[in-house]
């Protein structure tokens, strides 16, 4: 479908807002940094003679910038895949973890923590188990779902594998050392961006933008697929190939996001609804809008998590506490108008 000028303007405004929120987020945290110092640091990249406090540079470049980039990418990615899945499954109540990727990634991370692996390997294990879980779900749906609705068998298979990995995580928690390992697993599962380093973000950055581009360009096909398999096929869509491609891309993106942030619920479910209210249901504009709104949403929620108390609140908790009432508000506002 063609993008109208107003849709392009909305996306431009969202992009601008997300950049502004990211810059303002550099200001928030336990160590107070004046906005002026942030601008001085930004200016120093263009004008070498600009002076700024050295501590500001350390805090911003080593701690806050990686975290803000991570919030941007994770929020964007989860919302993008949530929107793509909602279109593909023809169900506005679907989230990116529907096919078991989060449970698989959670198990991988818990296993890595239990084996006392280093951060990079925990992330890798989480990523691989996330993908593995979805591959099992997809294979299971192919075996069981020949006669039934493909979406239904995928979702049921996702529920089964999620239950299995959740049980396996519980087993790991039972055997974990309750003083060190168990809290580490629990904190990981509650989600957070405190341990993020700039070097860990390059893969998710590349995957996110490639996925955003590909899914957005497939947006029209996803619109057609939302009318059901038979109608989409009769209009010329290769349904099986499209569904497989979307699942592969969404899984790679979600697994890479979860592997660096832990399990952060609600974003992928909630944000596509906000985006749909703002820009309409056409995926070609809905998907980039969801990405940007998701980025803005997680940046703001992460600012809250850092600043609301002296102890940092895990992101999974904050997104649920902010997300749930917000979702009720959206449901009330859009009842019958999803």
């Amino acid at each position: 479908m063609q993008s109208t000028k107003s849709e392009i303007v909305i996306i431009g405004m969202l992009l601008l807002t997300s950049i502004c929120v990211a810059i303002i987020s550099l200001h928030f945290g336990r160590f107070t940094i004046a906005i002026n110092d942030i601008f001085l640091l930004l200016k120093s990249f263009f004008d070498k003679n600009t002076l700024y406090p050295e501590t500001v540079k350390t805090v911003i470049l080593n701690i806050r910038l990686p975290r803000i980039l991570a919030a941007f990418l994770v929020g964007g990615t989860l919302s993008l895949t949530g929107a793509a899945y909602q279109g593909m499954f023809r169900n506005p109540m679907v989230s990116p973890s529907i096919l078991g990727v989060s449970a698989g990634a959670g198990f991988g991370a818990a296993l890595g923590i239990l084996l006392a692996l280093q951060g990079f390997w925990i992330q890798t294990l989480s990523f691989l188990f996330g993908i593995g879980a979805v591959l099992v779900v997809y294979s299971l749906s192919l075996v069981t779902g020949r006669k039934y609705d493909k979406n239904l068998t995928l979702i049921l298979s996702g529920m089964i594998i999620t239950a299995v990995f959740t049980a396996l995580i519980s087993i790991l928690k039972i055997v974990a050392d309750p003083n060190n390992t168990l809290p580490a697993i629990e904190y990981w599962l509650m989600g957070g961006l405190s341990g993020v380093q700039l070097g860990n973000l390059q893969y998710i950055a590349i995957l996110s933008f490639a996925g955003l581009l590909f899914l957005s360009l497939s947006g029209w096909k996803l619109d057609i697929l939302s009318f059901g398999d038979e109608e989409a096929k009769s209009m010329g869509i290769n349904v099986r190939r499209l569904r497989f491609t979307v699942i592969i891309i969404a899984t790679l993106l979600t697994a890479s996001a979860v592997s660096i942030s832990g399990i952060i619920g609600w974003v992928g479910l909630l944000v596509p609804h906000i985006a749909r209210m703002l820009i309409g249901p056409k995926n070609v504009v809905l998907l980039p809008a969801s990405f940007l709104i998701g980025a803005i949403f997680l940046l703001i929620v992460d600012d809250f998590s850092r600043c609301i108390s002296s102890i940092e609140i895990p992101l999974g908790i904050t997104t649920a506490l902010i997300g749930a009432p917000f979702f009720i508000f959206i449901l009330l506002k859009t009842s019958k108008k999803v």
Partner: protein, 258 residues
Amino acid sequence: MIQLQNIRCGYGKNVILSDVNLTIDHGKLTCLLGRNGAGKTTLFKTILGMLQPFEGTVLLHNKSLHSYTHKELAKKISYVPQVHGSPFSFTVLDIVLMGQYAHIDSFLGIPNKKHKAIALDCIKTLGIYNLTHKHFSKLSGGEKQMVLIARAMAQQPTFIAMDEPTSNLDLGNQSTVMQLAHLLKKQGFGVIMNTHAPEQALNHADHVVLLQNGGIKASGKPYEIINSKVISEVYNTNIELVTAQASDGKSRLVCVHI
């Protein structure tokens, strides 16, 4: 032309229809008639290529249906489903434009002004231009059916297959949809229709296919194959066909239950 040769089809291990031999021409209105469970939908899906037959061949323009790519097939046969739509609120123009998908060859697959003009043309032909920018979910059942017919037209196919297009409509909308079926036929489309109403087949169709006991009971011109006895047997109830004289001077056949 669609030719079904020695088709045996069904679901899983259940054979629903066997020994089906049938030719469907374009430029004609073909109605599939039969009781619930007689295999109308199965035959319909086989014709559309949604169901692979166990045996036999479906030829479309003398080429096996299953040798067509998805896009090639969409340019030959379009499908008007029973109304349900998308859970998302697309406008009428968005939906009709989707019919042009198979005709867009560009790498990015983005429709241009030409495709939009074709979609608008279909909307105008069906007389629903006033609905162009309305949301599909806000339309009445009859309006939705017309939008789906416009989308099928926008595929610019040879055949349009309609799955019980009047089943959920009031009398007025049933009449409108049947008039549209005639309009499509006049424009050169082959219209294939699955229906529960024998009167529609009698008074509108050029070709009727009667399904019974897992096969074709009769196939041909409506007045040649449909009579009170046959229709009573097909529907397993006593039905009499009565000729009624309408005020336009033309006589029509109506079904009377006795």
